[in-house]
Amino acid sequence: MSQAATERLTAPPATTARKSGRRHLSDRQILMLFILPTVTLLILMNLFPLIYSLYLSFTDFSVISSTAPVWVGLDNYVQLVNDPDIWHNFATTGRFALLSVGLETVIGFGLALLLRNKFRGSGIVTTLILIPMMLSPIVVATFWKLIFNPSYGIFNYLIGFTNPNTAPEWLGEGNLAMWAIVIVDAWMWSPFVMLLCLAGLSAIPDYLYEAASIDRASAWFQFRRITLPQVMPLLLIAILFRTIEAFKQFDLVMGLTGGGPGNATETVSVQLYQLAFQGQFNTGLSSALAYIVLVVIIAISNLLIRALNRAREG
């Protein structure tokens, strides 16, 4: 921290003497010039549309009809809350989030423990494991669809079902389809959890373990009392990130099952898409649903951003 101290001591005041007479922008003008384009674009592309859709959520309106929006007050929200299908969608999303984030946490943390000590080629192995994370989710979903195919996919062969007639049909049965999506999500995103856990593990000072082993603490004790608490902050951030993403999950579900079979894997995002852009194009109702989703996401994001800010300071 001595560096920070010297920085404070030697740093001259922000407005230093400049050659007079030369035309230049003041710091304040530069600040405005630099920030305004970003803020303007975000307001135009994000904030304004959100306000607009808040209005639409109180109306009866369809983009494909030529009639103007009709104000209906809270009707859309009342209809949604009383619709068991919507509750089913939220339950499906929650179940998906719980299963996938749980699996990712276990696998990711496990991988990080395996890779924490360097060995020859460990850098390459780590990078190879990280590849799925960088792929396009819809492309991933598409080629996993081939892998899950009951008659010519390799997934069943690899797990031991060599007879296509008795092999499980992963995408055709409700419960299995959910697990199929969870497996693909875990395949893609466990590396993300691993990456954050590795960062946490590498920051644990060696002397903690040395002291513990001098005291003849068991490996389990060391893990529970040193490793786990030290990695916890980063693991939490990883879990929050994944939870938000899981609640937004759209690409994988669309690519793998499209919400089917029936509505067994229909997450809220998929339902929202169908409500807004298919069939009736029920814009008013879908805007209301969008707002409900938004409130849920903002609640989780708030937790995440607080955790991130703490990580930046720490």
């Binding site: 192995v125 792929l135 993300f192 990456l195 990130f241």
Partner: protein
């Protein structure tokens, strides 16, 4: 590294300079065996995780019957049939047409592959255009978002301003919104502005979408450049803008490069917006990959070939970016690793 000459060593000191401290709990054979076992398990898991990717790459070079063979074919003669089906439109040819085709000597590789299946090429497929759309939209939106983000990240990093944390929070929160939620009003807005299914519309959207993340990532990088450099330049008579251009930008080059690549990957992979806001003119490749249909049924080889086009850049960039991945995926919040 400074090496200590042997003659200067005091008696009893180790013969070689000690560069690595040895942890007491790591001495002995047992921890080393455990480490070796760990390494082996890690390598096995890495191999298992790569199976889907390798399988996809293999499928891209299979012929049509091989791609859907049961049991799955592992050994096969590579063919470019998948790529040919992906890039061209074909139709079944009459015997007379086939005969005429066979007489010609100026056939391209795609023509010949089609001919072998009794088809003739009638033009390039939509996928070619969609791939070009993807490149244009990704390129322009990445350039715009990184440019705007460098400016505002600098401002956020260097100038005090009221409500800075709130503004940063607002910017990041834009990234958290599910695409479907934002799309409904944007769809309406674009329709009334005539931006629906246009390149400009998609570029604007992707720029805004990447901007929030790019600002956070770049602010982290710029925060790390010592202020003294600019302040020295200011004392020397540089204006703020000159200092920014000649001192900060070169120093932030690595950060800017990493941010550019991340923004490009996000736009390149984006699916939901493209699915809902484009139909024909500005459609990018991701929404169309699951829909690649050949003459009569799903052409898995063609789909795999298209996926490969998306996979290769991502794999290369993962390797190029491996030192910055952690920062990139956490919006610059976590730097060590």
């Amino acid at each position: 590294m400074a090496s200590v000459p042997q003659s200067y060593q005091s008696p009893g000191a180790p013969a070689k300079p000690v560069n690595v401290s040895i942890r007491v709990d790591k001495v002995g054979a047992r921890p080393r065996t455990i480490n070796a076992i760990r390494a082996v398990i890690a390598v096995i898991i890495a191999c298992i995780m790569l199976i889907p990717v390798v399988w996809m790459a293999m499928t891209a070079f299979k012929s049509r019957p091989e791609a859907v063979a049961a049991p799955p074919v592992v050994f096969f003669t590579p063919s470019l049939e998948g790529f040919a089906s992906l890039l061209t439109n074909r139709r079944q040819a009459t015997p007379a047409e086939l005969e005429a085709e066979r007489q010609r000597t100026d056939l391209s590789w795609a023509d010949e592959l089609a001919l072998r299946r009794g088809q003739i090429v009638i033009g390039e497929s939509d996928f070619v255009r969609q791939l070009i759309n993807s490149i244009i939209i990704t390129g322009v939106s990445t350039f715009l978002s990184v440019t705007l983000a460098v400016l505002s990240a600098y401002a956020f990093s260097r100038f005090p301003m009221p409500g800075k944390d709130d503004l940063m929070f607002f910017i990041l929160s834009q990234r958290m919104l599910p695409a479907v939620v934002v799309t409904i009003p944007i769809f309406l807005m674009y329709r009334s502005l005539g931006l629906q299914d246009t390149h400009i519309g998609m570029i604007l959207l992707y720029t805004a979408f990447n901007l929030s993340f790019a600002v956070w990532l770049l602010k982290g990088f710029i925060d790390e450049i010592p202020r003294e450099y600019e302040e020295a330049a200011l004392v020397d008579g540089y204006t703020r803008l000159q200092a920014f251009r000649k001192i900060v930008l070169p120093q932030a080059a690595t950060g800017i490069a990493a941010t550019t690549v991340f923004a490009a990957i996000f736009s390149w992979n984006e699916y939901a917006f493209a699915l809902m806001l484009t139909s024909n003119v500005a459609r990018t490749a991701p929404p169309s990959i699951p829909l690649v249909l050949g003459v009569g049924g799903i052409e898995w080889a063609a789909i795999a070939a298209g996926s490969l086009a998306f996979l290769i850049p991502a794999v290369l960039l993962t390797f190029a970016l491996r030192k910055h991945l952690l920062r990139g995926v956490t919006f610059g919040a976590i730097r060590k690793g």
